[in-house]
Subunit: 514 residues, 2 copies
């Protein structure tokens, strides 16, 4: 039998898509390819509805020696979307497994299947008036679990999404099903509230990973605060960004500020609100006065920092007072704006650009990808650095000249959580312009190397760049990569499951790289 | 050559101990055995001083087919101390590798070797006047890294110790050395500040584990607060403990209370401060008025809850106000005492029983183990539960009758962090009384089963009970245990490294269990 027939027999033909036209129409290609879209083309897409059907797909893949690429919703845009690393893979789309299985209103957790989107979880919580908020990223069409497994971030106090997963159900490449953490006990009362369990803690193995397929996970929610606030700080220069980063660090470390601290340029604001051709008529570089014009047009600063604060009325007032006091003392003249909300504020009273800070899903930044025209596109260089002012200066020194060299607009942002920050060096390009796509990829490649030489590593990568990034983690002759391969070989000796994901390949599947 | 000679050639004879007398004198047996001390007797102890020497020990162990049991300081008392699970093991003592390699006063982290004790790290921080506190457990003689890897807890805002490790250096059973997280990049600037790295996150694999030997780790420190406070709440009954647990939960979840919330009985206070024979003259049960007498004698309550608060002057005041307001509104008549300190308070001004709350190391509770006389002893039944009042009632209902049945004093405590709490059902016995030791073990075994039937799992276990606890994690025919074995087989096919640790055995080493 043909592969499509084998799969159709197990899943129903309506859950198998094999024609090129249909695969494209149903969004099974990378939405933002960098270069040839066919480089990461799927052969066939399947939509299993339960564990047995996933197991059947894995069995067929083993028998037919075809790799399987899994995703939950495939909205991992900028990182490959739903496109598989290994061309010709069966893409396993988990979107039909989309049940909110349980909401625990005591412990503030939800047990989800991977197909549940941010835009599904939020109404499920509202429907039962649960006193908890989810954490959401900028766009709400993605999978809650998928985003967490790829280590995406949000903006609330629980914005480090993988750290909010507590207890997974995972199908291993051979079809075995494991529950991790306390879920390894039948009838556990603690699966959703204590992550490590007993013995080696394995959850991390399934993040940014091809070692198993996560089929359920508990997600931690944030208690709905009595009050919350958006704090905006207008900064005039790179130097001032560095200064305020250092000033805020103690408040970040001691928990006064628990949310993501973000900072973006005036140019970034222009990209959020419009398109490039509003500022320059052809593909030439942005004019020298671009930033100045944006600042005047939108009333924004060179750098715009934002974070949010949460608490009871007492605690929120103290947090605001502390932030203001610290800034007034240490950054005289700092321009700080605070906008307060009630925890129960109706949706239409919350400004659209403030909503992710309250776990409210939406699509506010969707149009940003269209900045450079055509069908748009974005990837990003995203190094991890300590949350310190001098690091922003160093990163700018490395990254900005390369953007200029490769002809891309410099629209960076920083997002700090815990002790680290991510620089998101957003590359906005037009996927319909072959030269731009090629340059976007080249710029990424060169920066991965530039940054690694200075000790900065990427936290995530497009499928086209996973091998390059993995190679940059080179300590002791790539010991960690070799360790990943040993784990891969032990659990998936034929390298059937998502080969090449984050640069991890089974020894047997190295050939697929070609 | 004899094993001792082979090891002596590599490590120097002064770093090898093989006589029974010396092994006992140098504390290489479990200090608190439950039953026959020889059941977990080492054959020989070695003290490597560097990676090459550890590698040599592993090589010799492979060649001679003798298991190796690793520990940092061997102070894991109540869980087996330095005693190996597999009798006749080479015990690999990492105490000579005790350097504080680096302290990062920007990011608040310390890079340590496994031999560094809590009592070593604290003065190292003070010496350079670092504005950071470590988190410490009750006793300061243990290893910072070892305690974290066994998932021990402390009392500050960073009391979940394994979560404070960021980036490990690990020697695998075959001698390969891996750095995890961002440390996998040569010259990384972010090893100590971002845990996941790129690709599958493997740190958890090395906690409660026999998959590798951690030879370095970065430890996160807490910023020294401007002010801090101890909050004590006196509770009159089990029902009031349950009520206050529920009342505090929102303040725990929203970060108002970031420290460990502990609660112990009057009886527990008596055990902290004295010995059993002060209350009853022979081994008979404690008198009916014991708790009442303790309450009068020490001015304590039936249950005594304690937590700590930290912050700038502004934030600490708000936290205290919030805690008081919440309790006054919801628990009329609650007896709350608050004692405030300056972050820079000199050591002798901090009450001894408050010091762990400020990361100050000490041995305050050491004598508690002597409660039952002789050379003392303790183990504990320690189930994980959601942080909720009804859970305290359920756990008491299961555990307390068994303590009475087996003739042990009921001295439980609760320790909550995040969304979970641990009940520590402390079993204080006299190791010199063979019958008591046997009963302590029997009580533990029966409770592991009782608790598992109700969905409660242990977070940690004595070497004598690791297999029983691992067996209680039985979902899908012990799928997680089988997964652990697959990892073990892949990394340590001969099962040389710490076989049986947390119930994980290589397929090849199952025989060692006998």
């Amino acid at each position: 039998m043909e592969l499509a027939d084998l799969l159709g027999t197990e899943l129903g033909t309506e859950n198998v898509t094999s024609s090129r036209t249909e695969l494209e129409r149903q969004d099974y290609f990378d939405r933002y390819p960098v270069g040839d879209a066919d480089e990461f083309a799927p052969r066939i897409a399947v939509r299993p509805g339960n564990l047995d059907q996933i197991r059947a797909v894995l069995r067929i893949a083993q028998e037919e020696n075809v790799p399987v690429w899994t995703f939950s919703r495939g909205r991992n845009n900028g990182y490959g979307g739903s496109g598989p690393r290994a061309k010709g893979s069966i893409t396993l789309d988990l979107s039909r497994m989309n049940k909110v299985l349980d909401i625990d209103t005591t412990s503030g957790t939800a047990l989800l299947e991977p197909g549940v989107r941010f835009r599904d979880l939020y109404p499920a919580l509202r429907e039962i008036d649960a006193p908890f908020w989810p954490s959401v990223p900028d766009l709400d069409w993605g999978s809650v679990i998928g985003n967490a497994l790829d280590r995406g971030i949000g903006y609330t106090a629980l914005g480090e999404h993988f750290e909010n997963l507590c207890g997974l159900e995972v199908m291993l490449p051979d079809g075995e099903v494991v529950r991790t953490g306390m879920g390894a006990m039948t009838g556990s009362r603690s699966w959703n509230i204590y992550r490590p369990g007993f013995g080696p803690a394995v959850d991390g193995l399934f993040s940014q990973s091809n070692l198993g397929i996560v089929t359920k996970a508990n997600v931690w929610l944030m208690p709905k605060p009595e009050r919350w606030a958006i704090v905006d700080i207008a900064l005039d220069s790179d130097e001032q960004l560095a200064r305020v980063t250092d000033v805020l660090r103690p408040l970040r470390f001691d928990g006064t500020i628990a949310s993501t601290i973000s900072a973006g340029t005036a140019g970034g604001v222009a990209a959020m609100l419009g398109t490039r051709d509003q500022w320059v008529s052809d593909g030439s570089p942005l004019p020298a006065d671009f930033e100045q014009r944006v600042m005047s047009a939108f009333g924004v600063a060179a750098w715009n920092m934002r974070f949010s604060l949460y608490g009871t009325a007492i605690m929120l007032a103290a947090r605001i007072e502390q932030v203001k006091t610290t800034l007034e003392r240490q950054v005289p003249g700092a321009r700080v704006t605070v906008m307060e909300y009630d925890g129960d504020a109706p949706l239409d009273e919350v400004r659209e650009d403030h909503r992710t800070r309250a776990g409210i899903p939406g699509m506010y930044l969707e149009q940003m990808a269209g900045w450079s025209g055509g069908r748009g596109g974005h990837i990003a260089v995203s190094p991890v650095a300590p949350f310190a002012g001098e690091e922003t200066m160093r990163l700018t020194g490395i990254v900005k000249p390369r953007f200029e060299e490769y002809g891309f607009d410099w629209l960076p942002s920083y997002h700090s959580r815990g002790r680290h920050m991510l620089m998101i060096g957003l590359i906005l390009y037009n996927r319909d312009d072959a030269d731009q796509s090629r340059r976007a990829r080249e710029l990424s490649r060169v920066l991965i190397q530039d940054l690694a030489r200075e000790g900065y590593g990427e936290y995530r990568a497009h499928v086209a760049l996973m091998d390059e990034v993995a190679a940059s983690y080179d300590w002791n002759e790539h010991a960690l990569s070799r360790f990943h391969t040993r784990l891969k070989d032990a659990l998936d000796p034929n390298g059937i499951l998502s080969p090449g994901k984050q640069g991890v390949w089974a020894t047997a599947s190295i050939g697929v790289m070609a």
